[in-house]
């Protein structure tokens, strides 16, 4: 045992009765329930937890607050876990990252020997010559980069999401936050108090126990809960988006929170100072030492040096002393030692106290062994002090990420040497240390004021910290320690960026903070600049001769702390649309295919047989995915006139017409049939995959002034639709309905209501497939029943169900185009051979008119036209290009094949293609399709390939 675990501490989070075994880097260790992985490792005497990004230097705990990169470990299949925040569990397998073959002997640490030839941005200046070697260099670079390892067998896991709403959200459960929450709830607000730690208390949890302040938290927590407030512990608020939309994470759950107002009471954190060897394991922030001490009863070593620039460091030193640690020295950057009981205690113990001094260098092998303390102004000589850890309490930075995301501005306070916030957006209130130094009394008051203001009942008057508080809380104004030579002076620990790197980058022209960040990568690593942000800005200011304020800061971006993809994804909820007959299709062994959000039968085993059956006797296809819209009201015809290129006013009751919808550029958006059921009631169908888009489009125009007196109801999912088609379809359908289906009473392109098998249906006599046929629409609840009745009755007629594949062939035999397959994002109906549908002479304006008028006048450049091959040509596939040789014999693209199938009816391969208009107009003209370097001939064909006159449809 390393003797680092202290006797039980007041307020510690450990359950010492419950020891837990775990492994790290192949060795077994023991900690207690209530430990974090990092505190258990520290107690076990482990100093080196990780290797750094670039130089693979050994790194140990620094912040103990989940900010810095130093304690990132791999736990099982989870990469880059912040071990200082992760609760220890029995049997955990913890692995160091970025070290090979082991943490103690990492081969890549040899790179540091060459570091003088690897200055900032070195990779931009080398490896590109000779060009052919770059992939090999890159391979090496890639393998050296990266930290955690992704295990390809990681299960997807269980994640979920929860919506929360509150009048006031308080972020941070320290004294200011608790006080704010209580004040807001007292004002009658719905309050949500969120804290990332397992318990409320904020800094009180790890600073020297203070019974009065602690009691106030306990009391506040009770009052909050009694008044209906909600507390979320172990929950990190990670994002602030427009309209007070917050994201927060607890374990595997993502909270999405709509807040009326937000009180940010997230405190402040310390950052390290810049001196030689400042990354040695054992060098940590004062608050980290306090956390280890008070929360986990652990000291990180036995001989400490404390460096400070304000009173926090003295508390750390005195606490260490009280815990029995040998405090070798305390250096305070301020010229005079402050007065107080802490100092007296240290003085009494004979600790070396050095005013006006700071740390300039640290040395050691796998951890700090000695440090050099020097006068801040370089005036007097230096002290070399042996120690095994260092507590740095020099510089404070407000935890203001959320406030920045919300739009607050930073404003550097030269006096305090600290960033402050101003320009707070509406609904954002600050309380406590995030707003600047304050006493215990002040933070409680500030919280109350902010909470009440957030609840909307008072104005938020900031409570200024008194002068004496400011004086004791000032951050170090030193940009970097006096240079005494020696080891590297790190600014950014995530990326191993040193002060020399920053100076070099500035000298190279990267003298704006944003450029500096991108070139030197300072602040781009896992801590997102939390540890290095202020130092980087100050160094940039120093290097460019600008003030810190004018230097500005880089934009802070969500999330505040990294969030797992699983958490963001939540439960998978990918909608699937299934027709009422879905199970039947599956039972029949249909091959199902994805069609938009729908699943549809592609075929039931033999598409060609399905085609033949339908042409010869009768077939039935489930077309439920068709968009089905009911439009009612006096304005429907007028609106359709504007949305479609066709005429509608003249469509008589009971009739059906095919229509094409274009956008204002004349591009085909959708097509389908519209039936006028009565003067003011219409039934409109759209393409299956375009259904939701078409509805949205119609709604947009309806609500934008063209929809006076129109009501649209989407029946797509409430209604099933089947197409019963083939020469026997009438005879078959007649067995199921009393409605007279004879050609006279129910001719082609008519709509009729009828009971079929007792089910109320709408029948449309239309024929996409080119045979006599009926589209049967009924409420989806009857769909399965009706389908079965038709199948049963069809047995006597040779009925065979058919799928999407057969339908594609059938429609191709009729040369009907499919929107989105034969048309693309620039296709107009005139070029697509549907000029007959376009009525440029309509009384009213309509979408696409201007463009279509122009195209009609100029004539299309390319045209959609049929082709035949006279043979079975299975190598012809959709998407192939049509070429013509240029003068030099090189194939030039002149068109492409948009549809192509072998037609079982015609016994040859046919298709639709795009050709230059002049060629397309010449029926029987031969052209060539490019197939794998070969040219396959084909001939232009005009009109349907099958039943050109349409006799079968009308009969």
């Amino acid at each position: 045992m390393s003797g680092r675990r202290l006797p039980a501490q007041t307020g510690e989070s450990l359950d010492r009765g419950q020891p837990l075994e775990f492994r790290f880097d192949g060795h077994s260790y023991q900690g207690f329930a209530g430990d974090t992985v990092a505190s258990a490792l520290t107690a076990a005497g482990v100093n080196v937890v990780s290797r750094s990004f670039k130089y693979h230097r050994p790194r140990g705990l620094l912040c103990c607050a989940g900010h810095c990169p130093n304690c990132l470990v791999q736990i099982g299949d989870e990469p880059s876990v912040r071990s200082c925040k992760r609760a220890l569990e029995a049997g955990m397998d913890v692995q160091p990252q970025n070290a090979w073959p082991s943490l103690d002997n990492d081969l890549l640490s040899l790179t540091e020997a060459a570091s003088r030839f690897m200055p900032v941005g070195f990779y931009y200046k080398t490896f590109h010559r000779p060009r052919l070697l770059w992939p090999a260099f890159e391979h090496v670079l890639r393998n050296a980069a990266g930290l955690g390892v992704i295990d390809e067998n990681t299960p997807e896991g269980d994640y979920d999401k929860q919506y929360l709403h509150a009048d006031v959200v308080v972020v941070g459960g320290g004294p200011a936050g608790v006080s704010a929450a209580v004040a807001a709830v007292d004002e009658g607000a719905r309050v949500l108090l969120i804290d990332e730690n397992p318990e409320l208390g904020g800094h009180l949890r790890y600073s020297r126990p203070d019974a009065v302040a602690h009691a106030r938290i306990v009391d506040g927590q009770q009052r909050l809960l009694q008044s209906g407030g909600t507390i979320l512990n172990d929950t990190a608020v990670v994002g602030w988006y427009e309209d007070h939309w917050l994201s927060a994470v607890r374990g595997n759950r993502l909270f999405k929170i709509r807040a009326g107002a937000v009180v940010v009471a997230s405190g402040a954190f310390e950052t390290p100072s810049v001196f030689a060897g400042n990354d040695h394991p054992g060098i940590m922030l004062g608050t980290a030492v306090q956390r280890l001490l008070h929360l986990y009863g652990v000291v990180p070593g036995h001989r400490a040096v404390v460096v400070t620039a304000n009173d926090t460091g003295w508390a750390v030193a005195a606490d260490l002393l009280a815990a029995g640690v040998n405090v070798a020295a305390v250096a305070d950057e301020r010229p005079q030692l402050p007065v107080g009981t802490d100092i007296e205690a240290l003085q009494a113990a004979g600790v070396t106290l050095l005013p006006g001094s700071t740390i300039a260098a640290a040395r050691g092998k796998s951890g700090v062994e000695e440090v050099t303390l020097v006068a801040v102004d370089g005036s007097s000589g230096s002290h070399v002090v042996r120690c095994d850890f260092v507590a740095l309490s020099t510089t404070w930075v407000p935890s203001a990420e959320l406030a920045y995301m919300a739009g607050a501005r930073s404003c550097y306070d030269d006096e305090l040497a600290e960033m402050r916030l101003d320009n707070l957006p509406d609904g954002l209130f600050l309380a406590g240390r995030v707003a600047g130094p304050c006493s215990a009394e002040q933070e409680w008051l500030q919280g109350a004021r902010a909470g009440a203001a957030a609840a909307g009942n008072t104005d938020d008057l900031p409570i200024a910290a008194s002068q004496d508080v400011q004086a004791t809380a000032r951050s170090s104004a030193l940009v970097a320690a006096p240079d005494v030579g020696g080891d590297k002076r790190f600014v950014c620990l995530c990326e191993d960026v040193t002060d020399v790197d920053i100076e070099t980058a500035i000298a190279e022209g990267f003298d704006r903070i944003e450029l500096l960040k991108r070139y030197s990568t300072v602040g781009m690593g896992p801590c997102q600049g939390r540890m290095c942000g202020l130092n980087g800005i100050r160094l940039c200011a120093q290097g460019t001769g600008k003030s810190v304020q004018d230097t500005g800061r880089t934009t802070g971006r969500p999330p505040v702390t990294p969030v797992a993809l699983g958490v963001l994804a939540g439960q998978k909820m990918e909608p699937v649309q299934l027709s009422a007959v879905h199970d039947w299709h599956v039972d029949q062994g249909a091959r199902m295919m994805v069609a938009g959000l729908w699943m549809r039968p592609e075929h039931y085993g033999d598409a060609a047989a399905e085609v033949r059956a339908m042409r010869q006797t009768v077939g039935l296809i489930d077309v439920s995915p068709l968009g089905k819209l009911q439009l009612t009201g006096p304005g429907v015809a007028a609106m359709l006139e504007r949305l479609y290129v066709n005429n509608w006013q003249d469509l008589r009751r009971g009739r059906v017409r095919y229509g094409i919808m274009c956008n204002d550029e004349g591009v085909v958006l959708d097509d389908g049939v519209c039936a006028r059921l009565s003067d003011e009631q219409w039934y409109v169908s759209t393409t299956s995959t375009g259904a939701s888009g078409a509805l949205e489009w119609m709604e947009w125009w309806r609500q934008s002034g063209w929809g006076d007196g129109v009501h649209i109801t989407d029946l797509t999912e409430t209604h099933a639709a089947f197409n019963l088609a083939g020469p026997q379809s009438r005879a078959l359908l007649q067995t199921q309905t009393d409605r007279d289906l004879s050609n006279d009473r129910f001719p082609y392109m008519r709509a009729r209501r009828a009971d079929v098998a007792g089910v109320p249906c709408l029948l449309l006599r239309i024929g996409f497939t080119g045979e006599l046929g009926y589209e049967i629409h009924c409420p989806a609840g009857y769909g399965r029943y009706l389908w079965q009745r038709l199948i049963d009755a069809g047995a006597d007629f040779g009925l065979r169900p058919f799928g999407v594949e057969a339908q594609r062939v059938l429609r191709l035999e009729k040369a009907h185009f499919i929107v989105g397959q034969d048309t693309d994002a620039l296709t107009d109906p005139i070029s697509a051979d549907a000029a007959w549908a376009v009525h440029l002479d309509k009384d009213c304006d309509f979408l696409g008119r201007r463009a279509l008028t122009r195209i009609a006048t100029d004539g299309p450049r390319q045209r959609l036209v049929g082709f035949r091959t006279g043979r079975r040509a299975d190598s012809l596939l959709e998407g192939l290009q049509i070429v013509q040789s240029d003068d030099r014999g090189k194939p030039q693209i002149i068109g492409w094949v948009s549809s192509c199938r072998f037609s079982p009816t015609l016994q040859e391969t046919i298709g639709l293609c795009w050709l230059p208009a002049a060629l397309a107009e010449r029926s029987e003209a031969t052209f060539h399709i490019h197939v794998d370097g070969r040219l396959e001939p084909a001939r232009v064909h005009h009109g349907p390939f099958y039943d050109a006159e349409g006799a079968r449809l009308r009969g």
């Binding site: 299949d77 990469p79 880059s80 030839f117 200055p119 990779y123 931009y124 200046k125 080398t126 770059w134 992939p135 890159e138 890639r142 980069a145 990266g146 930290l147 955690g148 390892v149 992704i150 390809e152 997807e156 896991g157 994640y159 994002g239 070099t504 000298a507 190279e508 022209g509 450029l515 991108r518 070139y519 690593g525 896992p526 997102q528 934009t555 971006r557 969500p558 990294p562 969030v563 797992a564 993809l565 699983g566 963001l568 994804a569 998978k572 990918e574 699937v576 994805v594 069609a595 989105g820 693309d824 463009a851 122009r854 596939l877 959709e878 998407g879 192939l880 693209i893 492409w896 490019h930």
Partner: protein
């Protein structure tokens, strides 16, 4: 090791890559926009044509716009022959750019996969592959057995909601270090005498008798022989300074990265149906993005919706990434033209040229845009590669339709 690094390692001071110079009263060419496009044009003006009295003016730092925000996917497997030729010429320039600029832009031709999850995308991919092949671009349709070799990490089972059916494979496609391209061009231009003015905003453009005469900036007025606007997301605002309406809508486009990870993904993977794409940078971060936000806006704050949707879709492709963490999200502005092809060249205002309409896909075109725009400026002749992308194509109903192929158009 390069000589420069050796010298620097032995104590030499690296030279400044560019300088802050006073704003002159007159430049032969003023380029508004210090992104990769503007800087490339300045570079080629000087390098190819000896035109050096050139200013590149940016309201922010160089690369602050799309050039520093994009996800750096480079490819040439477009849909139209015009597009393929143009982007292919750009890829060829990129292949030699590190040597040309003596700056390693880390062009990493890792291969590019566009996944097809339904039969209509398979058809579109085949169409693209065929067009590409005929233009001499390496691009082909691959099916799951081969896909499993190219990217074994993909979930090729029928477990996902939209199982992968095929992919368009484009071996020369890849990623690049976007900032390095910006800096490399900036340094090359600066070395040849071009002035780069950062943090200088153009607030107006002077026009007399139908021709541009100069620009007004926050640091003073400058007379100019030619003004080129290479302002991407702000192009329509800048064109409005000369009363020139452009057929562009501005949308935010978002992206994000994970924490750095050890190599896990070699190729660039794009899925149009799932609106997502993923690649792994040389630093180890997974770089991911989606399609443009669903509404027009100039806000680059980013949204939670984006992250949620993206995460779900990434896990559809790579379920084992559930524990990888998103480190940072951001957004940039994209001006989308109706046909998803750029607007380049002359305008009805004499001496006012545009290089705009770059939507979500313009970074890959930076070298060729710079080169051809420089040629246009130097020779006053529109190069053949640029002709299809002229502004007047809209009035002439002669668009270059890339839209059908590009629901995620990077």
């Amino acid at each position: 090791m390069s000589l420069k690094l050796l010298r620097q390692g032995l104590g030499g001071r690296p030279p400044r890559m560019w300088h802050d110079r006073p704003l002159k009263d007159h430049y032969d060419v003023v380029i508004i926009g210090g992104g990769a496009h503007g800087l490339a044009c300045a570079y080629y003006l000087a390098a190819d044509h000896g035109i050096t009295n050139v200013a590149v003016i940016d309201k922010s730092y160089i690369g602050a716009g799309g050039s520093g925000r994009n996800t750096a996917i480079i490819r040439s497997n477009y849909l139209t022959p015009e597009g393929v030729q143009f982007y292919d010429a750009s890829v060829k320039l990129y292949e030699g750019l590190a040597q040309e600029l003596d700056f390693n832009v880390m062009f990493s031709q890792r291969g590019h996969l566009t996944l097809a999850h339904n039969d209509s995308s398979v058809r579109t991919m085949r169409r693209r592959a065929e067009v590409n092949k005929l233009q001499g671009v390496d691009s082909r349709l691959v099916y799951p057995d081969e896909l499993a070799r190219i990217c074994p990490q993909l979930d090729l089972s029928d477990h996902p909601r939209f199982p992968i059916q095929a992919a368009l494979y484009h071996p020369p496609g890849g990623i690049i270090r976007h900032d390095a391209v910006v800096w490399g061009y900036a340094r090359g231009a600066d070395q040849r005498g071009v002035d780069i003015h950062q943090y200088t905003e153009v607030t107006g453009i002077d026009v007399a008798n139908g021709a541009v005469t100069g620009v007004r900036t926050t640091r003073g007025n400058v007379s100019a022989g030619i003004v080129l606007s290479a302002t991407a997301g702000w192009a329509s605002n800048v064109a409005a300074m000369v009363d020139l309406p452009l057929p562009l809508d501005t949308f935010p486009l978002q992206a994000c990265v994970t924490e750095p990870l050890k190599p896990i993904l070699d190729v660039v993977v794009v899925s149009g149906s799932l609106h997502v794409y993923v690649s792994q940078s040389d630093r180890g971060e997974l770089v991911m993005g989606a399609s443009i936000d669903p509404f027009t806006s100039y806000s680059v704050g980013g949204s939670l919706d984006f992250l949620e949707g993206l995460a779900g879709h990434v896990l559809e492709l790579f379920p084992f990434l559930s524990k990888a963490r998103i480190l940072r999200q951001w957004a940039g502005l994209c001006e989308m033209p109706p046909d998803f092809s750029p607007l380049m060249g002359i305008t009805p205002v004499d001496n006012f040229l545009i290089d705009a309409g770059w939507g979500t896909y313009g970074f890959k075109a930076s070298p060729i845009c710079g080169k051809t725009m420089a040629e246009l400026i130097a020779t006053r002749q529109t190069p053949a590669l640029l002709r299809p992308f002229r502004l007047s194509r809209f009035a002439e109903y002669d668009q270059v339709g890339e839209k059908g192929a590009a629901s995620v158009g990077h």
